[in-house]
Symmetry: C2
Subunit: 338 residues, 2 copies
């Protein structure tokens, strides 16, 4: 297996043989509603706390993915996942339900691709036959913890983003059919000294550009190698910042093949200000919409760059700047390269 | 590479070529003071918050390990680490200082071996030459977040444990000298329905036994293969529970070759109640004391079983039971098997 300093190439082409995606009522009104396996009409999902509802979203996505792969829980050799809640309890409780050996991850909104990179690496090197990986978030649980409970009705600045309620997971396997995971470039912390936790897109954009630039260089491909390069949750502001940085760094990426999951999931008119965010954002868009488009032959090669803002409410209160990260994973139509 | 369902064998014998360990004033009075690289006389470490002091402990351990390996930061291909603080900010800020591509982990007190298992796996399969991995905690920062600030003087029950202040890291490399990482068994969630966050040792013991039993079976060795099997932070109560469970499951492990990091680090008379705990506990004991004993030829083969209690203050307030996990990694004198 070739490795650049930060890039792994997966020559054995581990496949995403199935996916599971769940969402809430707000996602049901969004642009990508048809790409979800389940959509709940109520944020509580018949549970008595938002954190339990959060856990159920992930459990359902896992169940659905395993079922679609025609596997059982016992076939899942490892589970790589995480979320935004303190001590990632929704993920750990879902891991209990799943019963599989479990690696808890914390990468904030970069978790989806942190998990997929590790899962693909391990399957590629024959350390497992089937790995389940993914990420989840719940708008109300996250708002309560990071900002204010939504019930308080606090006003949000136009730079703020809307946390996705949902879960997206995939089964990565050494055999079977599905899009192949072909490479991964691991992010390092980029911190431009920003302190505004209501402008995470702006804070994360330089990390996304750093990882994309590194990926293109270490994989030795032009941006045009991909049909789509998609960031996790930069939103309007972060996307603009990243386009400016590409120009500055002499990287030519046509605007229409550079998109952001945070700008794809909701409809114009939904009150999401600068766009969507949350650990689930890139997870549900990738494991739902994007994989569906690859399977439909509409996309052949994509690079998913999940971006994470690694602050905490406490670090913001203590006036720390925001450390950001982005992990990139390429997913390709298994037949494309043959 | 052989794999049992949960066990990886590392046939290329990745080596721990150097380690770095730091601690605070309480650790300086403990049994293993001589095994630390740095010991601070003050919990604040000249910082203005306990979280920043926490970050400095990890930064210093990383610096020391890199220096002892005669490497530079630029040689570190990946950094796998985590801690107990919400959104693991001390680790992410230290990752910024380090500058290496970074995988954030959350495994509570099991993080040390979660990271070592992944680092050894990746080096073993030639995905990197040098990986830095480890874990850290800070007594006062953790108490403030999980329980009460120490300054409140709350009374603790005799089952409670003392969070270690410190950081322990290792450089895992494909070349060079040092103890070899020979196998890893990944934990799954074990939840016996306990709800008392002041008795984590008791809650975690069944997870430790599950992982040890699986390890011995999948690696097909007797407990006597090891000179020492050491759990992360079960303390007096958890150790007793696990010994009872071994008897019940028909596993014969002599008491003197079964120890617990949480009972090794402090002296009798230090007011730690049931023992030590914290993400740093197994990390500093392993990367300090145990690796030193292997290098000195006093131990040839050890199995480190880091135990984690994956609750949060919120999950406890919501009356959830405590999901626990344990990851086991074997470390062997590189010459022992030759």
């Amino acid at each position: 297996m070739l490795t650049g300093h930060r890039t792994w190439m997966f020559d054995n082409k581990p496949k995403i043989i199935s996916t599971g995606t769940t969402g809430g009522p707000f996602e049901a009104k969004g642009m990508l509603a048809d790409d979800f396996d389940f959509l709940h009409s109520d944020l509580w999902i018949e549970e008595d706390s938002y954190e339990k509802a959060h856990k159920v979203l992930l459990e359902e996505a896992c169940e659905r993915a395993i079922e679609k792969a025609e596997l059982t829980k016992e076939n899942i050799q490892f589970f790589f996942a995480g979320d935004l809640i303190n001590q990632i309890t929704p993920t750990s409780f879902a891991a209990e339900t799943l019963g599989a050996p479990y690696f808890g991850l914390f990468g904030a909104c970069s978790t989806s691709m942190e998990g997929l990179a590790l899962a693909a690496y391990i399957v590629n090197t024959k350390g497992a036959n089937h790995i389940l990986t993914g990420a989840s978030s719940h708008n109300t649980a996250v708002q309560k913890q990071f900002r204010y409970p939504n019930e308080y009705g606090d006003q949000k600045p136009p730079t703020s983003q809307w946390t996705v309620t949902g879960a997206g997971v995939g089964v990565v396997s050494d055999k079977g059919d599905g899009p192949a995971v072909t490479s991964a470039t691991i992010g390092r912390i980029v911190n431009m000294g920003m302190t505004d936790a209501n402008n995470m897109g702006g804070a994360m954009a330089p990390a996304a550009v750093d990882t994309i630039e590194t990926h293109l260089k270490e994989r030795n491909v032009d941006p045009s190698y991909y049909d789509l390069i998609v960031t996790g949750d930069l939103g309007h502001i972060g996307r603009k910042v990243s386009l400016d940085l590409f120009t500055k760094h002499g990287i030519s990426i046509p605007e229409d093949m550079y998109q952001d999951c945070g700008l794809m999931i909701y409809r114009e008119g939904q009150p999401v200000l600068a766009g969507a965010s949350g650990t689930a954002c890139s997870a549900v868009v990738t494991y739902g919409h994007l994989i569906n488009r690859i399977k439909a032959g509409e996309l052949n090669r994509i690079l998913v760059v999940a971006t994470g803002s690694l602050h905490s409410p406490l670090s913001v209160q203590q006036n720390e700047t925001i450390p950001c990260i982005a992990h990139a994973v390429s997913i390709e139509n298994a037949k494309a390269g043959e």
